[in-house]
Amino acid sequence: MSEQRSFEELQRELEEIVTRLERGDVPVDDAIALFCQGETLYKECVARLQGAELQIEELVPREPGM
């Protein structure tokens, strides 16, 4: 699911979850569910950052005579 989503989207969703929880008006069952969701997002974000190596792709010019 999150494979197509950008890092920024994941991070934004995590931030929204934290903000909702911080408001403190969420029923406790929902709060726990939100927390788990937040943890998953956090791990996904970290996984995207860690161990990544810079990928370099070369686009070959299509014009002749370059």
Partner: protein, 386 residues
């Protein structure tokens, strides 16, 4: 000047090489003075020489022409010419007799390329500005964390290397899509437009960097080409322009969303620092944990208070009842005759009934007098009826 002499071999007129060259020279000298346009190459000037030498080159065909100008004349012009500049040279054709080489004896040189190009550039700039291509409200914010960064670069190892090194050090969790293109000379503008189109057609490319190191005014001209400037302005994703040095302002700089002084600066602009990002994520996660804990704490406290209220409820009820009972008792007490007796009154009974009037008894009757404490048995001696 020596005359052009020939010798006769029979009826054949034969010239020496010197005579021939001199003769051609005399013919050339009758030609009118002309202006010749070309690019300056092989400029040679020496304080010890009487003349300054240079070669004019036709940029289209590569044809060359040797130019000689008196050093004093040249110095007075204060041209400070550099190789590749386009100039107009006024002079007459001449031949260098010793070598038989054709040349141009210059009387003056004017720099033309720069002036014309600057004027054209200024006009283009005004036109595009009037269209709003450089308007500040067109500028887009750069993505904070790009999935892929498109890089347009020439065969310029330094600019490309700086950019790759900076991005690699700050944020290796991205992809660089590099498009090398001809960035100067003929066909460069077209190649740049094509490269921008190819880079922005990649759906994962969230930002494009134009990376081109320093160069002469002319070298950077393709980045002021109208088609290039329009392509930058119309780009699907934000464009960072890192073209030339700080003092250069090619028009693509004005159309780009952000201008970077160097490729290194561009690298720092287009990707975040991984460490900053990681610590921000860590902080968010701590907030997540804290938010849940305080939510749970709040709920637990509320539950505790509710429990207390629940347990306190029966006792409260009892106390309330008891208080009500106490009040009833008090009221009962005030109504009790015993309380009246306490104040000194007595109840007199006779024959099982309470006496309320004297004539209810007769002399000799036995009566019972009840006091607050104890009672008396008495006999009526006399009756005084009212």
């Amino acid at each position: 000047m020596p005359k052009v002499e020939h010798t006769l071999h029979g009826d054949r007129k034969v010239f020496t090489v010197s005579s021939f060259n001199r003769g051609i020279g005399m013919h050339l000298g009758r030609l009118p003075p002309v202006w010749v346009e070309g690019e300056v190459t092989e400029l040679r000037r020496n304080d010890a020489w009487a003349n300054v030498f240079l070669t004019l080159k036709d940029p289209k065909t590569g044809a060359c022409l040797s130019v000689t100008i008196a050093r004093r004349t040249y110095d007075r012009l204060e041209l400070d010419l550099t190789e590749g500049e386009t100039v107009h040279v006024a002079g007459r054709a001449e031949i260098y007799e010793l070598k038989g080489e054709l040349g141009l004896r210059a009387t003056t040189i004017e720099r033309i390329g720069l002036g014309d190009q600057l004027v054209a550039l200024e006009q283009l700039k005004r036109k595009l500005a009037a269209e709003g291509l450089f308007a500040p409200d067109r500028k887009r914010k750069l993505p904070r964390v790009p999935r892929a960064v498109g890089i347009l670069t020439g065969a310029d190892a330094a600019a490309r290397g700086d950019l790759v090194a900076t991005i690699g050090a700050r944020f290796p969790a991205t992809t660089l899509v590099v498009h090398e293109a001809r960035v100067q000379g003929k066909g460069a503008a077209r190649a740049i437009v094509v490269a921008i189109a190819e880079l922005t057609s990649r759906t994962d490319v969230d930002v494009v960097v134009l990376a081109r190191g320093g160069g002469s005014f002319e070298d950077l001209l393709p980045f002021s080409d109208e088609a290039v400037v329009r392509a930058v302005a119309a780009s699907r994703v934000p464009v960072v322009s890192a073209v030339g040095h700080e003092q250069d302002t090619p028009l693509c700089d004005l159309a780009a969303d952000v201008r970077a002084a160097t490729p290194t600066a561009a690298g720092a602009l287009v990707v975040p620092d991984l460490r900053d990002l990681e610590s921000a994520l860590g902080a968010t996660r701590r907030r997540l944990g804290l938010a849940l804990r305080s939510q749970v704490d709040r709920d637990r406290n509320r539950l505790g208070r509710q429990g207390e209220r629940l347990r306190a409820a029966p006792r409260l009820l009892l106390e309330r009842r008891r208080a009500a009972l106490d009040r009833s008792g008090a009221r009962l007490e005030t109504l009790s005759p015993l309380a009246t007796l306490g104040r000194g009154y007595a109840i007199v009974r006779a024959g099982g009934g309470v006496l309320r009037a004297a004539d209810q008894a007769r002399p000799g009757d036995l009566i019972d007098v009840q006091l607050a404490a104890g009672s008396l048995d008495a006999t009526v001696r006399e009756v005084h009826a009212k």
